[in-house]
Assembly symmetry: C2
Homo-oligomer: 168 residues x 2
Amino acid sequence: MTASAARTEPRPAPRKRAGNGAARPNDADEIGLDALVGHAGYAVRRFQIWIFQDFIKTLGEVDIKPTQYSVLTVIGANPGLSQMAVAKRLGIERARLVHLLDSLEQRKLVKRVKSKADRRSHALHLTAPGETALAKFKRLAAEHERHVVEKIGKENRERLLQILAGFT
Amino acid sequence: MTASAARTEPRPAPRKRAGNGAARPNDADEIGLDALVGHAGYAVRRFQIWIFQDFIKTLGEVDIKPTQYSVLTVIGANPGLSQMAVAKRLGIERARLVHLLDSLEQRKLVKRVKSKADRRSHALHLTAPGETALAKFKRLAAEHERHVVEKIGKENRERLLQILAGFT
DNA sequence: CGGCAATTGTTGTCGTCAACAACAATCTTC
DNA sequence: GAAGATTGTTGTTGACGACAACAATTGCCG
């Protein structure tokens, strides 16, 4: 079944082997990606999966996920923001932010204060334990960032941040 | 968004507390991200959202999404692969691939051929219309890639691909 | 001043997606 | 041949984004 009978088709030319550089050892299998390599979106997606998994693992002991961390960071840096402002800044739906804040408020990290200027909106603040907790989260996030450096190198990480600076 | 949405901030000086200690609500765009800038994961996530949206929009007329495109590309470059092999190569669950292939098979782009060597598995092939369709998808994907170049620049895109080459 | 549109937070639905668990059919190994 | 692993499949769960609808409140405009 190996040599002759396996292929049901005469195999229409093994596609161009994209000879950029030299013979690179294909790690896992010998399955070619063809046009997929060279697509920025594919590379970015794979990298994003890796980096999020590492973040979640590194911040696992405090049970904080990337989105929660971003919300806490923005509130910590800009106390008194409304939910609308936070949602817009982070690019998340305000409907989604409701649940995120419900969770963070239950954990006593964030409090919603009724705004006097606009009684429709809530002013968001970190609680006292929220402040100290965020400090710890930031230490763990820095550790995660160190993992990124180990993975792609210090200069590459900085170049990456520079290239993507326009999207933050 | 388009080109000039970039903040014209000349240098990356670490912004401590944006001096909005007063209770005055911020003017929308002036919300500081504090520690969030400098996190690779955040930048990558935002970029990935942008790039996927552009891909979906550019390939909208043929109704092909990034994951579908990756599946078609891998099958096209490696005819006869099993579902397990495709799933492993692309890092998607084999349970998820079932639905993806159901959809692609309904659209007559892909066919599952019962393998004679291993009757548990299916050998995946593009149909004849699937081949021509994929050619068109690749042209559209190339157009999408041109949008990426317009957004971040030619050298930056290549540097990005180089940095993230290890994740493909 | 009064009414009407817009905004804010909230709830709910829908569709996508990843992560599992369970299962039948089949292969592999002993 | 029996036990265990693999492959495709189905189903469930939870996170997530996109929307729509709603009450309370604010802003606007005649």
